[in-house]
Amino acid sequence: MTGLVMFCAALAMLVVGYPVAFTFGSVSIFFGIIASVVYLQGDLSPALIAGEFFQMFSMMPFRIYAIMKNTILMAVPLFIFMGILLQRSDLAERLLEAMGSLFGRVRGGLAVSTVLVGTLLAASTGVVGASVVAMGVISLPVMLKYGYSKRLATGTICASGTLGQIIPPSIVLIILGDVFQQPVGDLFRAAVGPGLILVGCYIAYILIISVIHRRVAPAMPIDEDLTRRQSLGRALFAIVPPLTLIVMVLGSIFGGIATPTESAAVGCVGAVVLAALYRKLSWQVVEESALETVKITAMVFAILIGATAFSMVFVYTGADYLVEDILTNLPGQKWTFLILSMLVIMALGFFIDFIEISYIVVPILLPIAEIIGINPLWFAILIAMNLQTSFLTPPFGFSLFYLKGVCPPEVQTVDLYRGVIPFITIQVIVLCSIVIFPDFYGFH
């Protein structure tokens, strides 16, 4: 019981706004003391309480050491570094201009090209914030200039920017691979289908809506300055190098040639080469990107350490059995559990980050999923997809914040909120389709 109270208390304390990692860690310490007192049943000599308390956390150094030795998690900083380097070499800008000149003449073409660029960025950088900001700065003004509706333009950008969450290589999938104890390569492979279906649905939606409502996405007038050949050449120069990098990195993982960590290191070197090719390489860029990577990585691993303390107390108090008891005795076992866990993750996703959800909530659900006999890969992809949606949902979706930060003043928050609704709907439909037709996506 103490464990469940702790869970709620931790969520409540997070709202105050102190960094998540330390909040989780210390709420566990306080509840660890309470749990010791409860365990000793009224014998309140400090020595006994302290003994019980340290007993509870005695595995702490072992767990931290296991994290240090974890070569799978080593892929996290490597992929982040690769992404930031690519972002610094203005990859997004180049891709957007190139795609825009290729598809702009079609009705809805600018929006479609934004989705395609979002997909490429997702497969190469996977940094949601950076993708949304880059597209918001470059393609939003262009779309608005050529008469696209604000809602379609902003919705497209937010949705395309979050693709990095589901399309491999993504940090969420690496973390889930660690939590699920599943090979990251398998998770990456399993995510490709759902990710591409999602992209297809976005594009289909944009094309359909721009035919039905002729005014929301007009075709761009033909640019006289550039011949077709010139624009094609430019486009190729912008698209081919990153595409090569993506194929190399993902190909070597999918082909079973290299582990994700190894591919990521090769990807980093590739990103340096790419930056040199685009004449953006300097010591300053490399150092700043490295420092940025260090901070993001430390942030992720601090949460992991905090979550470790949390899970120790949670398990000590037997709360895991309690949750298991409740959830395995639900009527309609598998489906009720699936729907319930998806709803819980989505609801939490409105408020807290995917890292906390992956490290705190998923480990609680995981053993139950195993008992019920749910395919772990399938469950992991469902969670990843669900977490991706949380980036879009108002009022606390990260993508919305990032885009709002770079929007021209005439675009209001309401436009953003309304703009993402159709895309959230598409997300939920695709998520449901994975739940209902697992075979179609290759889960058995």
């Binding site: 998540v20 909040t23 240090m68 080593m74 900083p77 040639i257 260090v294 430390a298 601090a302």
Partner: protein, 176 residues
């Protein structure tokens, strides 16, 4: 005085950050080197492979302190963003004392014996050809969390300075 101490801490933080950035680059090169050696020259060294996670763990353990002073840790910020500078500073001071320091102390003192044990048995890598001195890398756990406690002092001072400035700003506004 406090402002000077804050500046000293920020300088130290930039210095640590630079070192860790270099460690990250070394790690990238290390992993890349191992990949090349393994796939093209069919020659892999256990020591070099262990070096990968040695670099990695020092990088993220000490990175926690760097991220603290540079505000790199995520918060649940839908309320926090709307708070005044004063209120944020108070939350950060109380949070550091109540949340950060206890956790860091727990890890610091909880891991001391772990390191001592490793030193006493002169633990080395379990794989032949691996790195010696396991206690050294294990010692990074208490060391990095000790450093985190030290940096949290700087962080608290930074917040106190913010609090004082917020106070004077209000007075200036009041005079207008």
């Amino acid at each position: 005085m406090l402002v000077k101490i804050e500046r000293a801490f920020m300088r130290l933080n930039r210095f640590t950050g630079k070192i860790l950035a270099v460690l990250l680059l070394l790690m990238v090169i290390n992993v890349f080197y191992d990949v090349v050696m393994r796939y093209f020259l069919h020659n892999s060294s256990v020591a070099m492979q262990e070096m990968e996670w040695h670099l990695f763990s020092v990088m993220f353990l000490f990175g926690i302190s760097v991220a603290l002073l540079d505000e790199g840790h995520v918060r649940v910020d839908f309320l926090y963003d709307r708070f005044s500078i004063r209120r944020k500073a108070i939350i950060n001071i109380v949070g550091t004392v109540m949340f950060l320091v206890p956790l860091a102390l727990l890890v610091l003192f909880g891991s001391l014996d772990y390191v001592v044990d490793s030193y006493q048995i002169q633990e080395v890598s379990e794989d032949p050809g691996g790195l010696p001195y396991r206690w050294l890398i294990k010692a990074m756990i208490p060391l990095s969390f000790g450093y985190l406690i030290f940096c949290s002092l700087g962080y608290t001072i930074k917040q106190i300075n913010l609090l004082r400035n917020a106070g004077t700003d209000r007075r200036v506004e009041g005079k207008r």
